[in-house]
Symmetry: C2
Subunit: 413 residues, 2 copies
C-alpha cells in the first residue's frame, strides 16, 4: 500500500483548493496511490498529526471544494530549522508519513513553502529515506522564480482590475471628483498593482499612475505627477502597491511607523494608501482624496475568479501526481508559457531550491520611462491570465462553499 | 412635440443606470415622448444646461449601459432652497425644460432627491406649470420610506454577503486566527450590515456579531460579547455598520474625531472598524485583529450584481413612464412586495414628500434580544433581494462598461 499527502501553506488564494482537487483527480485517473491524505495547517499541523483522508470525498464535494476559495485544509507560516541544527522535526515528519504509508508529500505554497520542500527532500536523499516531496506553486504575489506565473495571481489580478474599473466609474460621477487611490497587496513585488493597467473603458486605460515597489518612491516626483494630472483632468486615479520603498530600500509603510516622522503621527491604522493621501492633502492639491485598501478580498474573491487561473491551479496539482510517478522529489511544478495567441502553457519541473526564499520582481523593462506605469509588453503578459469566468456553484444567490470544519469528519484516527 | 428628461442624484449604486435604461425602454414601448434627454450631474448640471439626447443610443449601447455600474449621467448632492426663499432656480429649471419641450422630469435618487421631486412638483402645481416631476428610488442604504426596499440595495447586500463569506474562509486558515472585522456602509440605517447574516456555509451563519446604528453601541457590552466568543471559538467574525452611535445618538465615528478622546489620537484614517479593533487590542483579548472596510466597492460591484435588483431597477424606470402617462407628478415609484414564495413585487406610486428627508431604520423587532444579530424574519426579508446573477457583458476577461465621456457626443447644443 502506498499513499500520498497534500497540504497547504502560506497566504491563501482563491484557487489553492483547485490544486488539492487536481492532486485527488490526478490520482483517481492514474490510481497510483491508494489514499490521498490531507494535512491540516500545513507542516505545523502535520507535526501534530492533524491529517484527513480525502479519498472519501465524493465527486460532488470535490466540485464544491474546487470552487471554494482560501486554504480549506488550513495553512501555516512555519519555517523549518536547518536539519544540521535540529533534525527532530524532520524525523517526526517522516515517521508520520511512514505510519500512514505516505510515499509522497505534495506541498502547495510560495517561496517559504518551497524552502520546506527543498529541505525535506534533501534530508530524505541524505538519509536514504525513500520518500518524495513535491512543491505546487501558489501565491497572489506572482513572485516565484522558474515559473511564468503562479496559480492564484490571475484571479487576484482580475479582482484588482475589475474593482479598479468599477471604482473608477464610482469616483467619476461628480463635477468635482478629486483623487482616488487604490492600495493593492503584493508585498515586495509589483505584479498585483501592475494588473490594474488591464482596466480599460472603450480601449482607454482608466488608471493614471501605478506605483510599484520596484521603483524607489519619491514624495516629490509623486506630487509632481499628481499635481500635473489633476490640473489637466480635475481628477486622478492612482494605484499603489503596499510594498513601495524609499531610495534606501526601506518600506514606506515601515518608515511612517517610526517616531522620526512627526508630521505623520496617525500611522498605525492605514497602509501606504493613507500615506500618499496625506501627502496630497498636505501639498494642497486637493482635499478630496479617497483611499480603498483592497485587503484580503484580493486573495479570496472566488466570485471574480479567472477560468485560466483556476484550471491552471487544477492542472499543476494533477500534473504533480504524474511527475511523482516518475519518481521526482525536491521539485516544484512550474508553468511554462508556450504562446500568447492562442494562449497555451505546459507544466515543467523545476528545482524547489531555486525557487525557495527568493523573489521574482516585476521587470524594470516593463515599467515606463516616467516610472509610474507599465508597458504594453507587460499588459500582453498579464492579459491572458484573467480570461474566462467559470460557472461557480450558487445557492440562495450566494456562492456555495465548504469549509474545514466540514472536512474534519474524515480525520484519520 | 413632447419630451422627457432623466437625471441621477446622490451616491451611485450598481444598478442606477438600469433605471435610466428602463425609462428609455418604457418610452420605446409606449412611444409617449418624442425624445428622452439625460441631465448630466443631476439638478446641478441641468441648471448649467448640461443635457444629452439619449434617444440616439442604440439597443447595443443601452444593453451595455444597463450593466454599467455607477451613475453614467453623473450625479450631484444639491439641495434646492425653499422657493419662498428663492425661486430663481425653480424658474430656471422650468425654463430649460420648456426650451427642450420637456414635459416630465424623472429624477433617480434617495431621500434628498425625493425632496427635490417634492419641491419642484409643488412649485409647478402652485404656478400652474404643466410639467410633471417623478421620483425613481435608488440607494444602497435601503433607507427610504413607502417602498419595501430600494433598487441598489440588493446588489450591495449580495456583495457584502459574498465578501463576508469569502473573507470568513480567508480568516479561518491558521491555528490562531484572531478576530476579523468588516465595516459596511449604510449611514444611519443598518440594512447593509444586516445583510451579512445571509452568509452561510453548510446552513450555518459565519458572522458572530452584527452591530447596527439602531442599537446604541456600548464599548463594555461589545467587549463582553467578543471576549466570550473568542474564549469559546478562538476566532470571532464581526460586522459593524459605519453609522453606529453611542447612547446619546452621536456617531462613534464623529466622537473619535474629537479631541476629547485622548486615548484614541490616531483617528482620522479609519472608520469604526479601526475604532473597535483598538478596543479589542487595548482590552487584551488578542492582538490578532484585522479590519476590512468595504468602501465604495459596495455601491459599484456590478460583477456581483443581483438579478432581482437590476431587473427591479429597470422596472421602476419603465413603470415611471407608465405612471407619467397617467399624468402623475410629485410621486416616487415604490416597490410593494406581494409575496416571498415565489417572490413577487409590483410598483406603486407614493407621495415623494412622504419619502423626502426621512430615514427608514432597520426595524428594532428584527434585532435579536442580545442586540448583536438579526432575526430569522429579517433574513427572510433580505433573502429574495440577492437572488440571481445575470450574464454581464465580458470583454478580455473584464466587464464591458461605458462611461459618461463616451455619452458626451450626444450633448444637446
Amino acid at each position: 500500500m502506498k499513499n500520498c499527502l497534500v497540504a497547504q501553506s502560506g497566504g491563501p488564494t482563491s484557487v489553492i483548493n483547485a490544486s488539492v482537487v487536481g492532486v485527488i483527480k490526478g490520482n483517481k485517473e492514474t490510481k497510483f496511490y491508494d489514499k490521498v491524505y490531507g494535512g491540516i495547517n500545513g507542516i505545523e499541523g502535520i507535526l501534530q498529526n492533524k491529517i484527513l483522508d480525502l479519498t472519501c470525498l465524493s465527486d460532488k464535494e470535490l466540485e464544491i471544494l474546487k470552487y471554494t476559495p482560501s486554504s480549506s485544509l488550513g495553512s501555516c507560516r512555519y519555517k523549518m530549522k536547518d536539519f544540521r541544527e535540529d533534525e527532530s522535526e524532520y524525523q517526526k515528519i517522516f515517521d508520520i508519513m511512514d505510519k500512514l504509508n505516505v510515499k509522497t508529500l505534495f506541498y502547495i505554497g510560495g517561496n517559504d513553502s518551497m524552502d520546506t520542500v527543498s529541505k525535506l527532500s534533501k534530508y530524505a536523499k541524505l538519509k536514504g529515506i525513500n520518500k518524495q516531496i513535491i512543491g505546487i506553486p501558489k501565491t497572489i504575489d506572482n513572485d516565484l522564480w522558474c515559473t511564468d506565473h503562479t496559480p492564484g495571481f490571475g484571479s487576484a489580478a482580475k479582482y484588482v482590475a475589475t474593482t479598479v474599473l468599477e471604482t473608477y466609474l464610482d469616483s467619476s460621477v461628480y463635477i468635482n471628483n478629486g483623487i482616488f487611490i487604490v492600495e493593492t497587496m503584493g508585498r515586495n513585488a509589483g505584479w498585483l498593482a501592475a494588473s490594474a493597467a488591464l482596466a480599460k473603458i472603450n480601449g482607454r486605460q482608466v488608471v493614471d499612475f501605478i506605483y510599484l515597489p520596484e521603483i524607489p518612491f519619491s514624495d516629490e516626483k509623486f506630487l509632481k505627477d499628481v499635481s500635473k494630472r489633476f490640473k489637466e483632468k480635475n481628477k486622478v486615479y492612482i494605484v499603489v502597491s503596499e510594498g513601495i520603498k524609499d531610495e534606501n530600500g526601506r518600506f514606506i509603510f515601515e518608515m511612517k511607523n517610526t517616531k522620526k516622522h512627526d508630521g505623520f503621527s496617525h500611522t498605525q491604522l492605514g497602509g501606504v494608501g493613507n500615506y500618499i493621501k496625506r501627502l496630497i492633502i498636505q501639498s494642497g492639491i486637493t482635499s478630496r482624496v479617497k483611499v480603498l485598501e483592497l485587503g484580503v478580498a484580493q486573495r479570496c474573491a472566488m466570485h471574480s475568479v479567472s477560468s485560466v487561473d483556476i484550471e491552471e491551479a487544477y492542472k499543476v496539482g494533477k500534473d504533480a501526481v504524474k511527475y511523482s510517478i516518475e519518481g521526482c522529489s525536491g521539485y516544484m511544478i512550474g508553468i511554462k508559457r508556450i504562446r500568447n495567441n492562442p494562449y497555451e502553457i505546459e507544466t515543467v519541473k523545476v528545482e524547489a531550491s531555486k525557487v525557495a526564499n527568493d523573489i521574482k520582481y516585476f521587470p524594470k523593462e516593463w515599467i515606463t520611462k516616467e516610472r509610474n506605469f507599465i508597458t504594453d509588453d507587460a499588459v500582453s503578459y498579464l492579459k491572458p491570465l484573467i480570461e474566462g469566468s467559470p460557472k461557480i456553484i450558487i445557492e440562495d444567490g450566494l456562492p456555495k462553499y465548504i469549509d474545514l470544519q466540514y472536512l474534519l469528519k474524515y480525520a484519520v484516527k
